[in-house]
Symmetry: C2
Subunit: 269 residues, 2 copies
Protein backbone atom coordinates (compact mmCIF):
# COMPACT_ATOMS: atom_id res chain seq x y z
CA UNK A 1 0.00 0.00 0.00
CA UNK A 2 1.43 3.37 -1.07
CA UNK A 3 -0.02 6.61 0.31
CA UNK A 4 0.73 10.00 -1.21
CA UNK A 5 0.49 12.95 1.18
CA UNK A 6 1.99 16.34 2.08
CA UNK A 7 5.66 16.33 3.04
CA UNK A 8 8.23 16.64 4.26
CA UNK A 9 8.33 13.91 6.93
CA UNK A 10 6.52 14.96 10.11
CA UNK A 11 3.51 16.85 8.76
CA UNK A 12 0.06 16.39 10.28
CA UNK A 13 -0.76 14.81 6.90
CA UNK A 14 2.01 12.26 7.51
CA UNK A 15 0.52 11.50 10.93
CA UNK A 16 -3.01 11.19 9.44
CA UNK A 17 -1.68 8.84 6.74
CA UNK A 18 -0.22 6.52 9.38
CA UNK A 19 -3.61 6.60 11.11
CA UNK A 20 -5.19 5.42 7.84
CA UNK A 21 -2.60 2.64 7.42
CA UNK A 22 0.29 2.10 9.83
CA UNK A 23 2.25 -0.14 7.46
CA UNK A 24 1.89 1.99 4.33
CA UNK A 25 4.83 3.32 2.35
CA UNK A 26 4.47 7.11 2.40
CA UNK A 27 5.26 9.24 -0.67
CA UNK A 28 5.78 12.90 0.25
CA UNK A 29 4.61 15.69 -2.06
CA UNK A 30 5.10 19.45 -1.93
CA UNK A 31 1.48 20.42 -2.39
CA UNK A 32 -2.11 19.17 -2.61
CA UNK A 33 -2.14 19.28 -6.40
CA UNK A 34 0.82 16.88 -6.63
CA UNK A 35 -0.96 14.37 -4.36
CA UNK A 36 -3.89 14.26 -6.79
CA UNK A 37 -1.49 13.83 -9.70
CA UNK A 38 0.43 10.99 -8.01
CA UNK A 39 -2.81 9.09 -7.34
CA UNK A 40 -4.16 9.80 -10.86
CA UNK A 41 -0.98 8.40 -12.40
CA UNK A 42 -1.24 5.24 -10.29
CA UNK A 43 2.04 5.91 -8.45
CA UNK A 44 0.16 5.71 -5.13
CA UNK A 45 -2.94 3.68 -4.17
CA UNK A 46 -4.52 6.50 -2.20
CA UNK A 47 -3.88 10.11 -1.30
CA UNK A 48 -4.44 11.72 2.12
CA UNK A 49 -5.34 15.42 1.79
CA UNK A 50 -6.26 18.02 4.44
CA UNK A 51 -9.67 19.48 3.59
CA UNK A 52 -10.61 21.62 6.59
CA UNK A 53 -9.53 22.65 10.04
CA UNK A 54 -12.02 23.46 12.79
CA UNK A 55 -10.34 26.84 13.39
CA UNK A 56 -8.80 28.05 10.14
CA UNK A 57 -11.43 26.57 7.81
CA UNK A 58 -11.36 24.94 4.40
CA UNK A 59 -8.18 24.32 2.36
CA UNK A 60 -9.08 26.05 -0.93
CA UNK A 61 -6.57 24.16 -3.12
CA UNK A 62 -8.02 20.83 -1.97
CA UNK A 63 -11.48 21.86 -3.21
CA UNK A 64 -10.05 23.07 -6.52
CA UNK A 65 -8.19 19.76 -7.03
CA UNK A 66 -11.29 17.70 -6.12
CA UNK A 67 -13.20 19.56 -8.81
CA UNK A 68 -10.45 19.28 -11.42
CA UNK A 69 -9.29 15.65 -11.05
CA UNK A 70 -11.33 12.55 -11.83
CA UNK A 71 -10.80 10.84 -8.46
CA UNK A 72 -13.17 9.68 -5.70
CA UNK A 73 -13.25 10.43 -2.01
CA UNK A 74 -13.24 6.99 -0.36
CA UNK A 75 -12.86 7.96 3.28
CA UNK A 76 -12.04 10.60 5.86
CA UNK A 77 -9.82 10.83 8.92
CA UNK A 78 -9.91 13.36 11.78
CA UNK A 79 -6.75 14.37 13.64
CA UNK A 80 -6.34 16.41 16.85
CA UNK A 81 -4.07 19.38 16.11
CA UNK A 82 -1.65 20.53 18.77
CA UNK A 83 0.93 23.19 18.05
CA UNK A 84 4.16 23.59 19.98
CA UNK A 85 6.86 26.22 20.14
CA UNK A 86 10.30 24.76 19.42
CA UNK A 87 13.54 26.66 19.94
CA UNK A 88 17.15 25.72 20.59
CA UNK A 89 17.58 28.02 23.59
CA UNK A 90 14.96 30.06 25.49
CA UNK A 91 11.91 32.11 24.58
CA UNK A 92 13.48 35.46 25.53
CA UNK A 93 15.95 35.37 22.62
CA UNK A 94 13.38 34.68 19.88
CA UNK A 95 13.53 37.14 16.99
CA UNK A 96 12.06 35.04 14.16
CA UNK A 97 9.51 32.25 13.95
CA UNK A 98 9.03 29.73 11.16
CA UNK A 99 5.34 28.93 10.79
CA UNK A 100 2.68 28.06 8.24
CA UNK A 101 -0.05 30.61 7.66
CA UNK A 102 -2.53 28.10 9.15
CA UNK A 103 -0.51 27.49 12.34
CA UNK A 104 -0.08 31.26 12.68
CA UNK A 105 -3.86 31.74 12.44
CA UNK A 106 -4.43 28.98 14.99
CA UNK A 107 -1.94 30.43 17.50
CA UNK A 108 -2.47 34.13 16.77
CA UNK A 109 -3.64 35.04 20.29
CA UNK A 110 -0.72 33.23 21.94
CA UNK A 111 1.78 34.89 19.59
CA UNK A 112 0.31 38.38 20.01
CA UNK A 113 0.43 37.99 23.78
CA UNK A 114 3.83 36.35 24.22
CA UNK A 115 5.89 37.11 21.13
CA UNK A 116 4.53 40.35 19.75
CA UNK A 117 7.63 41.84 18.11
CA UNK A 118 8.81 38.66 16.51
CA UNK A 119 9.32 38.40 12.76
CA UNK A 120 7.09 35.78 11.08
CA UNK A 121 8.62 33.65 8.31
CA UNK A 122 5.93 31.76 6.43
CA UNK A 123 6.65 28.18 5.42
CA UNK A 124 4.73 25.75 3.25
CA UNK A 125 4.18 23.06 5.91
CA UNK A 126 4.52 22.59 9.68
CA UNK A 127 7.18 19.94 9.14
CA UNK A 128 9.03 22.38 6.85
CA UNK A 129 9.02 24.84 9.78
CA UNK A 130 10.67 22.14 11.92
CA UNK A 131 13.17 21.31 9.19
CA UNK A 132 14.11 24.97 8.64
CA UNK A 133 14.63 25.51 12.38
CA UNK A 134 16.85 22.42 12.54
CA UNK A 135 18.91 23.62 9.56
CA UNK A 136 19.20 27.23 10.76
CA UNK A 137 20.90 26.22 14.02
CA UNK A 138 20.31 29.75 15.30
CA UNK A 139 19.27 30.61 18.86
CA UNK A 140 17.22 33.61 17.79
CA UNK A 141 14.93 31.47 15.62
CA UNK A 142 11.97 29.35 16.70
CA UNK A 143 9.24 27.35 14.95
CA UNK A 144 5.64 26.29 15.48
CA UNK A 145 5.69 22.53 15.04
CA UNK A 146 3.73 19.31 15.64
CA UNK A 147 5.16 17.10 18.41
CA UNK A 148 5.53 14.37 15.76
CA UNK A 149 7.82 16.64 13.70
CA UNK A 150 9.80 17.79 16.75
CA UNK A 151 10.64 14.13 17.45
CA UNK A 152 11.63 13.41 13.84
CA UNK A 153 13.90 16.46 13.59
CA UNK A 154 15.22 16.28 17.16
CA UNK A 155 13.89 19.69 18.26
CA UNK A 156 13.38 20.92 21.81
CA UNK A 157 9.79 21.99 22.60
CA UNK A 158 9.85 24.96 24.99
CA UNK A 159 6.06 25.49 25.14
CA UNK A 160 3.42 22.83 24.49
CA UNK A 161 -0.15 23.28 23.18
CA UNK A 162 0.08 26.92 22.11
CA UNK A 163 -3.01 26.74 19.86
CA UNK A 164 -5.69 29.28 20.87
CA UNK A 165 -8.60 26.88 20.69
CA UNK A 166 -8.60 23.70 22.78
CA UNK A 167 -10.78 22.16 20.16
CA UNK A 168 -8.60 22.13 17.08
CA UNK A 169 -8.99 19.25 14.65
CA UNK A 170 -8.16 18.78 10.99
CA UNK A 171 -10.24 16.62 8.70
CA UNK A 172 -8.44 14.73 5.93
CA UNK A 173 -9.99 13.15 2.84
CA UNK A 174 -8.76 9.87 1.39
CA UNK A 175 -8.80 9.96 -2.41
CA UNK A 176 -8.53 7.07 -4.83
CA UNK A 177 -9.28 5.95 -8.37
CA UNK A 178 -11.66 3.34 -6.90
CA UNK A 179 -14.99 3.77 -5.11
CA UNK A 180 -16.35 2.47 -1.81
CA UNK A 181 -19.60 0.67 -0.95
CA UNK A 182 -22.38 1.94 1.31
CA UNK A 183 -21.74 1.36 5.03
CA UNK A 184 -24.99 2.78 6.44
CA UNK A 185 -23.13 5.71 8.04
CA UNK A 186 -21.92 7.65 5.02
CA UNK A 187 -21.24 11.11 3.76
CA UNK A 188 -21.49 12.32 0.16
CA UNK A 189 -19.56 15.31 -1.23
CA UNK A 190 -20.62 17.14 -4.38
CA UNK A 191 -20.00 20.29 -6.41
CA UNK A 192 -22.85 22.32 -7.89
CA UNK A 193 -22.27 25.19 -10.33
CA UNK A 194 -25.49 27.17 -10.81
CA UNK A 195 -23.98 29.20 -13.72
CA UNK A 196 -26.74 31.80 -13.42
CA UNK A 197 -27.04 34.73 -11.07
CA UNK A 198 -30.57 34.86 -9.76
CA UNK A 199 -32.17 35.79 -6.45
CA UNK A 200 -33.21 32.71 -4.49
CA UNK A 201 -31.27 30.27 -6.63
CA UNK A 202 -29.23 28.77 -3.81
CA UNK A 203 -32.43 28.69 -1.76
CA UNK A 204 -34.19 26.61 -4.41
CA UNK A 205 -31.16 24.33 -4.74
CA UNK A 206 -31.07 23.67 -1.01
CA UNK A 207 -34.81 23.04 -1.11
CA UNK A 208 -34.18 19.84 -3.09
CA UNK A 209 -32.28 18.52 -0.07
CA UNK A 210 -34.49 20.02 2.65
CA UNK A 211 -37.74 18.59 1.29
CA UNK A 212 -36.19 15.09 1.26
CA UNK A 213 -34.82 15.53 4.82
CA UNK A 214 -31.25 15.18 3.59
CA UNK A 215 -29.01 16.68 6.28
CA UNK A 216 -26.30 18.93 4.84
CA UNK A 217 -23.07 18.83 6.87
CA UNK A 218 -21.10 21.45 4.93
CA UNK A 219 -21.66 24.15 2.38
CA UNK A 220 -18.79 26.20 1.01
CA UNK A 221 -18.55 28.58 -1.92
CA UNK A 222 -15.51 28.74 -4.21
CA UNK A 223 -14.97 31.32 -6.96
CA UNK A 224 -15.78 29.85 -10.38
CA UNK A 225 -12.63 31.63 -11.68
CA UNK A 226 -15.01 33.63 -13.80
CA UNK A 227 -16.37 36.97 -12.65
CA UNK A 228 -16.38 38.13 -9.04
CA UNK A 229 -19.49 36.90 -7.27
CA UNK A 230 -19.82 33.80 -9.47
CA UNK A 231 -19.49 30.72 -7.27
CA UNK A 232 -19.27 26.95 -7.36
CA UNK A 233 -20.76 25.34 -4.25
CA UNK A 234 -19.12 22.44 -2.42
CA UNK A 235 -21.85 20.65 -0.48
CA UNK A 236 -21.65 17.64 1.82
CA UNK A 237 -24.54 15.61 3.18
CA UNK A 238 -25.28 12.59 5.33
CA UNK A 239 -26.04 9.49 3.26
CA UNK A 240 -24.69 7.51 0.31
CA UNK A 241 -25.17 8.46 -3.34
CA UNK A 242 -26.85 5.08 -3.95
CA UNK A 243 -29.76 6.03 -1.62
CA UNK A 244 -32.99 6.80 -3.45
CA UNK A 245 -33.67 10.18 -1.82
CA UNK A 246 -30.17 11.40 -2.71
CA UNK A 247 -30.46 10.12 -6.27
CA UNK A 248 -33.81 11.91 -6.58
CA UNK A 249 -32.35 15.21 -5.34
CA UNK A 250 -29.37 14.90 -7.71
CA UNK A 251 -31.53 14.21 -10.77
CA UNK A 252 -33.72 17.25 -10.01
CA UNK A 253 -30.63 19.46 -9.66
CA UNK A 254 -28.92 18.05 -12.76
CA UNK A 255 -31.89 19.11 -14.89
CA UNK A 256 -30.73 22.70 -14.57
CA UNK A 257 -27.24 22.79 -13.14
CA UNK A 258 -23.74 21.29 -13.37
CA UNK A 259 -23.33 18.64 -10.66
CA UNK A 260 -20.23 16.55 -9.87
CA UNK A 261 -20.21 13.84 -7.21
CA UNK A 262 -16.78 13.81 -5.54
CA UNK A 263 -17.52 10.65 -3.55
CA UNK A 264 -19.56 8.73 -0.96
CA UNK A 265 -17.69 7.28 2.01
CA UNK A 266 -17.97 6.25 5.66
CA UNK A 267 -18.08 9.26 7.95
CA UNK A 268 -15.98 9.57 11.10
CA UNK A 269 -18.02 12.22 12.95
Amino acid sequence: MKISTLGPKGTFSHEASLKVNKQAEILFENNVWDIFETVSEGKANIGVVPIENSVSGTVPLALDALLEFDLNIVGEEVLQIRHNLANSSSASDIKEIFTTEQAYEQCVKFLRKNLQDVNIIETSSNAQSAKLLKESNNKSKAAIVPEFAAKIYGLKIIKKNIQDSKFNVTRFLIISKKETKETGNDRTSIFIYPQVDKAGLLYNLLGEFAKRSINLTKIESRPSKGKLGDYIFFIEMQGHKSEKKIQDAFSMIEKNFFLKVAGSYERKY
Copy 2:
Protein backbone atom coordinates in the same frame (compact mmCIF):
# COMPACT_ATOMS: atom_id res chain seq x y z
CA MET B 1 -6.76 61.26 5.97
CA LYS B 2 -4.84 58.24 7.26
CA ILE B 3 -5.38 54.80 5.73
CA SER B 4 -4.18 51.61 7.40
CA THR B 5 -3.48 48.72 5.02
CA LEU B 6 -1.22 45.71 4.37
CA GLY B 7 2.47 46.49 3.93
CA PRO B 8 5.21 46.72 3.06
CA LYS B 9 5.10 49.45 0.41
CA GLY B 10 4.01 48.11 -2.98
CA THR B 11 1.28 45.62 -2.02
CA PHE B 12 -1.95 45.40 -4.00
CA SER B 13 -3.55 46.72 -0.79
CA HIS B 14 -1.30 49.81 -1.05
CA GLU B 15 -2.43 50.28 -4.65
CA ALA B 16 -6.11 49.85 -3.66
CA SER B 17 -5.67 52.38 -0.83
CA LEU B 18 -4.38 55.00 -3.28
CA LYS B 19 -7.41 54.25 -5.45
CA VAL B 20 -9.63 55.04 -2.45
CA ASN B 21 -7.75 58.26 -1.70
CA LYS B 22 -4.72 59.41 -3.70
CA GLN B 23 -3.63 61.98 -1.11
CA ALA B 24 -3.95 59.77 1.96
CA GLU B 25 -1.09 59.04 4.33
CA ILE B 26 -0.65 55.25 4.28
CA LEU B 27 0.14 53.28 7.46
CA PHE B 28 1.51 49.83 6.66
CA GLU B 29 0.63 46.82 8.83
CA ASN B 30 1.89 43.24 8.82
CA ASN B 31 -1.48 41.53 8.79
CA VAL B 32 -5.23 42.04 8.49
CA TRP B 33 -5.78 41.86 12.23
CA ASP B 34 -3.41 44.81 12.85
CA ILE B 35 -5.35 46.94 10.33
CA PHE B 36 -8.54 46.40 12.33
CA GLU B 37 -6.70 47.28 15.54
CA THR B 38 -5.19 50.47 14.09
CA VAL B 39 -8.63 51.68 12.97
CA SER B 40 -10.26 50.66 16.28
CA GLU B 41 -7.68 52.64 18.23
CA GLY B 42 -8.28 55.72 16.06
CA LYS B 43 -4.73 55.76 14.68
CA ALA B 44 -6.15 55.63 11.14
CA ASN B 45 -9.43 56.99 9.75
CA ILE B 46 -10.12 53.95 7.62
CA GLY B 47 -8.63 50.56 6.84
CA VAL B 48 -8.39 48.92 3.41
CA VAL B 49 -8.54 45.13 3.68
CA PRO B 50 -8.54 42.41 0.96
CA ILE B 51 -11.67 40.28 1.35
CA GLU B 52 -11.74 38.02 -1.72
CA ASN B 53 -9.99 37.29 -4.97
CA SER B 54 -11.87 36.03 -8.03
CA VAL B 55 -9.46 33.07 -8.35
CA SER B 56 -8.18 32.16 -4.91
CA GLY B 57 -11.34 33.01 -2.98
CA THR B 58 -12.08 34.58 0.38
CA VAL B 59 -9.42 35.82 2.83
CA PRO B 60 -10.37 33.90 5.99
CA LEU B 61 -8.62 36.23 8.47
CA ALA B 62 -10.55 39.21 7.09
CA LEU B 63 -13.86 37.48 7.86
CA ASP B 64 -12.67 36.54 11.35
CA ALA B 65 -11.62 40.14 12.05
CA LEU B 66 -14.91 41.55 10.70
CA LEU B 67 -16.75 39.30 13.14
CA GLU B 68 -14.48 40.10 16.10
CA PHE B 69 -14.07 43.88 15.86
CA ASP B 70 -16.77 46.49 16.32
CA LEU B 71 -16.15 48.33 13.02
CA ASN B 72 -18.31 49.03 9.96
CA ILE B 73 -17.75 48.32 6.30
CA VAL B 74 -18.23 51.71 4.62
CA GLY B 75 -17.17 50.89 1.07
CA GLU B 76 -15.47 48.52 -1.34
CA GLU B 77 -12.85 48.80 -4.07
CA VAL B 78 -12.04 46.34 -6.88
CA LEU B 79 -8.51 46.04 -8.29
CA GLN B 80 -7.26 44.17 -11.38
CA ILE B 81 -4.55 41.72 -10.28
CA ARG B 82 -1.60 41.12 -12.59
CA HIS B 83 1.35 39.03 -11.48
CA ASN B 84 4.83 39.33 -12.96
CA LEU B 85 8.01 37.32 -12.70
CA ALA B 86 10.95 39.42 -11.54
CA ASN B 87 14.55 38.25 -11.57
CA SER B 88 17.95 39.92 -11.71
CA SER B 89 19.27 37.81 -14.61
CA SER B 90 17.41 35.31 -16.83
CA ALA B 91 14.73 32.67 -16.31
CA SER B 92 17.05 29.71 -16.99
CA ASP B 93 19.02 30.27 -13.76
CA ILE B 94 16.03 30.37 -11.43
CA LYS B 95 16.25 27.94 -8.51
CA GLU B 96 14.02 29.66 -5.95
CA ILE B 97 10.95 31.87 -6.13
CA PHE B 98 9.59 34.19 -3.45
CA THR B 99 5.80 34.22 -3.63
CA THR B 100 2.71 34.48 -1.47
CA GLU B 101 0.49 31.41 -1.23
CA GLN B 102 -2.22 33.38 -3.08
CA ALA B 103 0.04 34.43 -5.98
CA TYR B 104 1.29 30.85 -6.18
CA GLU B 105 -2.30 29.58 -6.47
CA GLN B 106 -3.08 32.20 -9.09
CA CYS B 107 -0.03 31.35 -11.22
CA VAL B 108 0.11 27.61 -10.53
CA LYS B 109 -0.36 26.53 -14.15
CA PHE B 110 2.32 28.93 -15.41
CA LEU B 111 4.76 27.77 -12.72
CA ARG B 112 4.12 24.07 -13.29
CA LYS B 113 4.67 24.51 -17.01
CA ASN B 114 7.69 26.82 -16.99
CA LEU B 115 9.41 26.47 -13.64
CA GLN B 116 8.58 23.01 -12.41
CA ASP B 117 11.66 22.16 -10.36
CA VAL B 118 11.94 25.50 -8.67
CA ASN B 119 11.87 25.80 -4.88
CA ILE B 120 8.94 27.87 -3.56
CA ILE B 121 9.61 30.23 -0.65
CA GLU B 122 6.36 31.50 0.83
CA THR B 123 6.18 35.14 1.87
CA SER B 124 3.52 37.08 3.72
CA SER B 125 2.80 39.66 0.97
CA ASN B 126 3.55 40.24 -2.72
CA ALA B 127 5.53 43.36 -1.86
CA GLN B 128 7.50 41.32 0.69
CA SER B 129 8.40 38.94 -2.18
CA ALA B 130 9.75 41.96 -4.10
CA LYS B 131 11.63 43.25 -1.06
CA LEU B 132 13.21 39.85 -0.33
CA LEU B 133 14.32 39.48 -3.95
CA LYS B 134 15.88 42.95 -3.85
CA GLU B 135 17.71 42.17 -0.60
CA SER B 136 18.87 38.71 -1.70
CA ASN B 137 20.78 40.09 -4.70
CA ASN B 138 21.12 36.52 -6.00
CA LYS B 139 20.77 35.54 -9.66
CA SER B 140 19.23 32.15 -8.84
CA LYS B 141 16.28 33.76 -7.05
CA ALA B 142 13.12 35.25 -8.55
CA ALA B 143 9.83 36.62 -7.21
CA ILE B 144 6.19 36.92 -8.25
CA VAL B 145 5.41 40.61 -7.86
CA PRO B 146 2.94 43.37 -8.76
CA GLU B 147 4.26 45.87 -11.34
CA PHE B 148 3.70 48.58 -8.71
CA ALA B 149 6.10 46.79 -6.31
CA ALA B 150 8.68 46.11 -9.05
CA LYS B 151 8.84 49.88 -9.67
CA ILE B 152 9.16 50.73 -5.98
CA TYR B 153 11.94 48.19 -5.37
CA GLY B 154 13.67 48.70 -8.74
CA LEU B 155 13.23 45.11 -9.97
CA LYS B 156 13.46 43.87 -13.54
CA ILE B 157 10.32 42.10 -14.79
CA ILE B 158 11.31 39.24 -17.11
CA LYS B 159 7.77 37.94 -17.76
CA LYS B 160 4.58 40.00 -17.51
CA ASN B 161 1.03 38.79 -16.69
CA ILE B 162 1.85 35.28 -15.55
CA GLN B 163 -1.50 34.78 -13.74
CA ASP B 164 -3.44 31.77 -15.09
CA SER B 165 -6.77 33.51 -15.34
CA LYS B 166 -7.12 36.66 -17.43
CA PHE B 167 -9.93 37.66 -15.16
CA ASN B 168 -8.26 38.10 -11.82
CA VAL B 169 -9.54 40.82 -9.51
CA THR B 170 -9.35 41.38 -5.78
CA ARG B 171 -12.10 43.02 -3.84
CA PHE B 172 -11.14 45.21 -0.87
CA LEU B 173 -13.37 46.40 1.96
CA ILE B 174 -13.05 49.83 3.52
CA ILE B 175 -13.58 49.68 7.28
CA SER B 176 -14.25 52.53 9.68
CA LYS B 177 -15.68 53.42 13.06
CA LYS B 178 -18.31 55.51 11.26
CA GLU B 179 -21.22 54.44 9.05
CA THR B 180 -22.35 55.49 5.57
CA LYS B 181 -25.75 56.58 4.27
CA GLU B 182 -27.88 54.80 1.65
CA THR B 183 -26.87 55.56 -1.96
CA GLY B 184 -29.54 53.52 -3.77
CA ASN B 185 -26.93 51.07 -5.05
CA ASP B 186 -25.77 49.36 -1.88
CA ARG B 187 -24.57 46.10 -0.49
CA THR B 188 -25.05 44.81 3.06
CA SER B 189 -22.75 42.26 4.73
CA ILE B 190 -23.83 40.20 7.74
CA PHE B 191 -22.87 37.22 9.87
CA ILE B 192 -25.41 34.63 11.00
CA TYR B 193 -24.62 31.91 13.51
CA PRO B 194 -27.39 29.30 13.59
CA GLN B 195 -25.91 27.56 16.70
CA VAL B 196 -28.02 24.48 16.07
CA ASP B 197 -27.38 21.57 13.77
CA LYS B 198 -30.63 20.74 11.99
CA ALA B 199 -31.52 19.55 8.49
CA GLY B 200 -32.88 22.36 6.34
CA LEU B 201 -31.79 25.12 8.71
CA LEU B 202 -29.74 27.04 6.16
CA TYR B 203 -32.57 26.51 3.69
CA ASN B 204 -35.07 28.15 6.05
CA LEU B 205 -32.64 31.00 6.76
CA LEU B 206 -32.19 31.72 3.07
CA GLY B 207 -35.95 31.57 2.65
CA GLU B 208 -36.25 34.78 4.67
CA PHE B 209 -34.29 36.53 1.91
CA ALA B 210 -35.75 34.64 -1.06
CA LYS B 211 -39.37 35.36 -0.17
CA ARG B 212 -38.59 39.09 0.03
CA SER B 213 -36.70 39.01 -3.32
CA ILE B 214 -33.46 40.07 -1.63
CA ASN B 215 -30.63 39.10 -3.96
CA LEU B 216 -27.73 37.42 -2.14
CA THR B 217 -24.34 38.21 -3.70
CA LYS B 218 -22.15 36.01 -1.49
CA ILE B 219 -22.49 33.23 1.01
CA GLU B 220 -19.50 31.78 2.77
CA SER B 221 -19.16 29.45 5.74
CA ARG B 222 -16.49 29.89 8.42
CA PRO B 223 -15.81 27.46 11.25
CA SER B 224 -17.37 28.67 14.51
CA LYS B 225 -14.11 27.55 16.24
CA GLY B 226 -16.30 25.08 18.07
CA LYS B 227 -16.81 21.55 16.79
CA LEU B 228 -16.08 20.46 13.21
CA GLY B 229 -19.12 21.05 11.01
CA ASP B 230 -20.36 23.99 13.11
CA TYR B 231 -20.38 27.10 10.94
CA ILE B 232 -20.95 30.84 11.01
CA PHE B 233 -22.29 32.16 7.71
CA PHE B 234 -21.05 35.36 6.08
CA ILE B 235 -23.79 36.57 3.76
CA GLU B 236 -23.89 39.60 1.46
CA MET B 237 -26.92 41.01 -0.30
CA GLN B 238 -27.98 43.84 -2.56
CA GLY B 239 -29.62 46.69 -0.67
CA HIS B 240 -29.12 48.86 2.42
CA LYS B 241 -29.89 47.79 5.97
CA SER B 242 -32.28 50.73 6.30
CA GLU B 243 -34.61 49.25 3.61
CA LYS B 244 -37.82 47.80 5.00
CA LYS B 245 -37.57 44.37 3.36
CA ILE B 246 -34.05 43.89 4.71
CA GLN B 247 -35.07 45.04 8.19
CA ASP B 248 -38.00 42.58 8.07
CA ALA B 249 -35.74 39.68 7.07
CA PHE B 250 -33.24 40.56 9.83
CA SER B 251 -35.89 40.75 12.55
CA MET B 252 -37.28 37.35 11.55
CA ILE B 253 -33.78 35.81 11.65
CA GLU B 254 -32.85 37.52 14.94
CA LYS B 255 -35.80 35.83 16.66
CA ASN B 256 -33.90 32.55 16.54
CA PHE B 257 -30.30 33.22 15.60
CA PHE B 258 -27.26 35.37 16.28
CA LEU B 259 -27.02 38.11 13.61
CA LYS B 260 -24.33 40.77 13.23
CA VAL B 261 -24.51 43.49 10.56
CA ALA B 262 -20.96 44.24 9.36
CA GLY B 263 -22.06 47.20 7.24
CA SER B 264 -24.08 48.71 4.38
CA TYR B 265 -22.15 50.55 1.65
CA GLU B 266 -22.14 51.54 -1.99
CA ARG B 267 -21.32 48.61 -4.24
CA LYS B 268 -18.80 48.79 -7.08
CA TYR B 269 -19.96 45.79 -9.16
